[in-house]
Structure formats: C-alpha cells, structure tokens
C-alpha cells in the first residue's frame, strides 16, 4: 500500500483559534497536553525520519563500510557517481521502466475509469479490478514469473500456439524491463483507475448536460470537458505514480535480481547492492540523496507544469 500513503492532498492550514472566553487553560498547559498526545508520533518522526535524514546526508559525504567509523571524504562520492557508468545505466533503466509503466498505466486507468462511470457502475466490478493491487508485489511478481516462463508458461504457450516465436520475457535484456513494467501496470491499473474515477465523480453533472445540449460528440466532450476538468486529479495521480515507480524494487528483486547483465538494475536495486552487497554505505547514501533530489525535482516540475493545485471548476 505504499502508493496509497504517498498523496497528501494540498493541506489547508487554518490559523489556530485561540480561546477568547478567558476560562481556557494557559498556553503552557495546552502545550503540555498536546505534547502528551503527539509524544509517540514525535518519537517516530524524530527517530525514524528526521535523524535518519540528517544521518543519511552526513554518510553521503563519508566512506563507510559498516565495520569501522565513517571517514569524511567531502564530495568524492558525488564526483564518483557522476563518472559511474553503472549509475547512468541504472538511471536509464529506471527511466525506461517509469516511462513504460506510467504511459500504459495512466491511459488504461483513464479508460477504465470512464467505463466505470458510464456503464460498469457496480462496486463488485470496481472491487474485482482492485484485487491485484491488494496482493503483495512479491506474489504478483512470482505469479507472472510463472505465467511468462519461457518453456511452459501459459503466455508463451499461447504465443507459440499462434505460430509466433517464444519470448524470453525475463531472460532477455531487451524484454526484461518492459516485462517488469507491464507486470506492475497489471497490479496498479485498477487502483489508478479508482483514483481517476473519484476525480470523474467530482465533475458536476450540469457541465455534461450543457455539452450534450450543444450537441457535442462524445470525443469532443472528453477532450474539451472531461480532460481539462480532470487535470488536477491527473496531476496528483501522475506525481504519485511517477514517484512510486522510481522506487521499483520488489518485482525486480524476486524475478531478475537486476539481470540479465545490467538490464534491470534499477536505481533502488543498485543502492541496495552497493549497501548490502558491497558494504559501501557512504556511496549508497550518496546515491539515495541523488534519488531524493531527482524525485523532489520531478514532483516540483510536474506540479508546476500541470498546475495540479488549481482547479478549472471554480
């Protein structure tokens, strides 16, 4: 459910309303009570988010192989990353994965959402389409690893029955990334469709009525009304799925492990191998700082470009 936890709608902050009735507790007392309530969450925030963030940034400037003490080496890790062919390969592979995954996922999701809204209104159908998303990445990956097996997988059986040559889905450098991308499209499409569907529900009905009175065709209505009004929702969905896709790991880890050769060594896999395979925690930390910066930039550019926080409905 990682994706679920990654889309905070733009929060609206209200100024705290201070008690003016005079019988409210003093500020210090209020703070004490509040601290009592947020104390456990604060432990979690400080110990497992803030301190690790600072420590991660610090480690990225060190050489640290877990046994000794971290040794400060300035920006050496970053200059090394810049010249690291495996890093650039990992970025290329990851971007290829993200591109295939996002394009198919979003297009299919919009299609399914429109179908959910126009004909398939039952909750049962929506629930069925959501099913793959609820099953673990690991399970989905293993299931498709079996179905796409070169020798006896059902998909290759069908392909060869059609008279076409069998495909080494996970085994060839050319097919491995598209395959992993499609496996995750399969897992996520129902979920993304539900998000888009929620956005469609928010478009007021009278807008469509006006369009149909004006005699607009379905295609015309879709491009001139649905898509523009859906834009804030799509922007949010896009940011969330892109950020999630950049961190693809589980599927790769249980199927190809990064191979064949370097074909599926996505960035998170590369970080994992540097840290836990080669015990190079300094370098791995620097790589994750780079990933962090890239993700922040991507999110920023997308929101800016798509004006995701503004609606055309007002």
């Amino acid at each position: 459910m990682t994706t679920l936890t990654k889309h905070p709608p733009a929060p609206t902050f209200k100024a705290p309303q201070l008690s003016k009735r005079g019988r409210g507790p003093s500020k210090l007392r209020e703070l004490r009570i509040a601290l009592l309530f947020i104390f456990p969450a604060m432990i979690g925030l400080v110990a497992f988010s803030l301190v690790p963030t600072i420590r991660g940034i610090y480690l990225s400037f060190t050489e640290y192989n877990i046994l000794g003490e971290p040794k400060w080496i300035g920006i050496d890790n970053y200059t090394a990353i810049f010249a690291d062919e495996l890093f650039w390969n990992a970025m290329a592979v990851t971007i290829q994965y993200v591109a295939i995954n996002i394009v198919f996922q979003i297009v299919i999701a919009i299609g399914l959402a429109l179908l959910m809204q126009s004909v398939a209104k039952s909750t049962f159908i929506r629930a069925a389409l959501l099913l793959p998303f609820l099953v673990a990445n690991v399970i989905v990956a293993l299931l498709w690893f079996w179905m796409l097996d070169y020798q006896i997988g059902i998909v290759n059986e069908v392909i060869s029955w059609l008279g076409l040559p069998r495909v080494a889905f996970f085994g060839s450098e050319q097919w491995a990334i598209p395959t992993i991308a499609f496996v995750n499209v399969w897992r996520h499409m129902g979920y993304t469709a539900l998000l888009v569907f929620a956005g469609l529900q928010a478009i007021p009905h009278h807008v469509y009525e006006v369009a149909s009175l004006d005699g607009a065709s379905r295609t015309r209505t879709f491009w001139s009304i649905t898509m523009p009004l859906l834009r804030p929702v799509l922007a949010l969905v896009l940011v969330v799925t892109v950020i999630g896709s950049f961190q693809v790991f589980d599927t790769v880890a249980v199927t190809t492990g990064g191979g064949p050769v370097n074909a599926t060594r996505v960035i998170q896999m590369y970080i994992y191998q540097k840290a836990f395979g080669e015990s190079d925690f300094g370098y791995a930390s620097a790589l994750s700082v780079v990933l962090f910066v890239i993700l922040a930039l991507v999110a920023f550019i997308q929101m800016k470009f798509l004006r995701g926080n503004e609606s055309d409905l007002d």
């Binding site: 459910m1 679920l4 889309h7 905070p8 902050f13 705290p16 409210g24 500020k27 209020e30 703070l31 009570i33 509040a34 309530f37 947020i38 456990p40 969450a41 979690g44 925030l45 497992f48 301190v51 690790p52 963030t53 420590r55 991660g56 877990i66 179908l115 909750t123 159908i125 389409l129 959501l130 099913l131 609820l134 099953v135 673990a136 990445n137 399970i139 293993l142 299931l143 079996w146 179905m147 059902i154 539900l194 998000l195 929620a198 529900q201 004006d214 005699g215 607009a216 065709s217 949010l236 961190q247 790991f249 589980d250 880890a253 249980v254 791995a284 994750s288 962090f292 993700l295 922040a296």
Partner: protein
Amino acid sequence: MSTQTLTTRKPVDWHRVGAWTLIVLALVVTIFPFLWMLRTALSSNHSLASNTANLLPADFSLGAFKRVFGLQTTEEAIADGGSGGAIDFWLYLRNSILFATVTTACQVFFSALAAYAFARLRWPGRNKVFAVFLATLMIPGIFTALPNFLMIKNLGLLNTFAGLTLPFLFMSAFAIFFLRQFFMSMSREVEEAAMLDGAKSLRIFFQIVLPNAVAPMTTLALLTFIGQWNEYFWPLLVGNDESIRVLTLGLSIFKSQSPQGAPDWTGLMAATLVAAVPILILFLAFGKKVVNSIGFSGIK
C-alpha cells in the same frame, strides 16, 4: 460547439456493447492469473510441462499444499519436484500475522492520538509541527532505510521482532493526515459538554472521540494492514533470520531454493496462494469499504 449537428442514434448502442466488451476483457485480464495460480497449485510438477494449456489442473494433486505446510517427507517432496529444502510456512505465517497486526494496531492508535492533537487541541506551533509531519511523505523509503538499518544494527536489534517492527510502530504521516481530516469534521458539541463537566483531554479522547471514530479507523487499519502484510524491503534488510522471517521474504527464498533448472512451480503457486488468502478474506469482508475509501483517501 453549437454549430455541430446532433449525433444520430442507432437502434443498437454500439458504444455500450463496446464498453462492456472492454470491461469484460479487463476483468478477464485481472482475474485469470489468480485462477491460473490456483490451477497450478493443484497440479503435479511432472505433468505441468506436458499439459500446459488446459484450464483444469494437470494431474490433480494436493502435494503442493502438503509440501508448503511441511506435511510431506523430504523424499516425497523431492520426488514431487520440490526442493527438499525446509520451509517452515506456519512459522512465516505466524510472523506475518504478528508483524502486520502489531504494527497496524500501534501505528493507527498513536497516529490517532497525534491527529487529535492537530485537529482539536490548541497549542503554539501546531501547524508548523504538522507541516513537518506532512513533509516526511516526500522522503523516499530507501533514503531513510539505510540509516535506520544502521541504527537497528547498532542497537543490536537485527533479526529481532523489535527491529522488524520499530520503524512502523509510532506513526505514519498518511494516517495522521487521514484521521486529522476526520476529527476536524466531527461535531464539537459533545466534547465541549464533557469539557464543561471538567473531563480531562485524555478521558474525552478515549470515552468520546475514539468510539465515534471507529469507522474511519477501521478503514485506515485495513489499508495499513494490507500494506504491512505486503511489506518486503524492510524485512529483507533486518529480518532474514528464519525465526522472524515473514511470508513475503519466505516466498522469495522459496523461489531461489529451486533445484537445478526446474523450479517447484506448483509448490510456489500453492505458497503464494496461501500467502494471499488472508488478504482475500479481508477483501471479501471489507471490499466495499476499501473500494469506497480509495477516492476519499487518495484525492479528497
């Protein structure tokens, strides 16, 4: 737009036919792999290769399930195409249940406490602190996972249940955000009446607020539980030891134990099926709730 002519209506609504065709296609693509999982799990390894494209199990057998639950002897397992390696599926199942239940219960409860403080209590710095919590949603998991691993290791908690659960116990920014929205929408009257009675904040929270928040907390707990049940990365880092290994990790190890060449496909599919069953049960019971909460939690 007004210059366009009205579209002529045909007696058969081809749009509807087309739409339903696509829906059925999407359902088949979604459901078929699960049926194939079941079909494979009920087959025998030796017959899989010769009987590849029949919808019914190839040489029906419960051997795969027996193997998964350790009901076959090593000889039997190897004869059936298993690895013969020991997998203690019951143990992994227990670990997954413990891990997902404990982390979900603590995370939802502590997040509810914090969410209430952000929604209803008045205190200096409230919005700034809340903004910091929200900001953590932007941090990619791997970025904090490495330092967290080091900390758990330094504390000597690698391969312990404490190390496995600690990072998830105290809060999730999403849960706090989700519940804060709900608490802000609750009517204030009852709380204020209790306050006039001189009831303390904690007592109000437990006796009045929590009982009224059962519905959103159930939804949240459900979503959290599913996420925790499926968690793979953190257990891979700190929980490799057999004694605390969770199902997702057990499955990936089961796969890599395959004997030379031919993987134990039927055993693997039986294991994935059993690992998915708790989620399927939850889904049958609460599916509607989950489906309807997606739009709410995702966008609104």
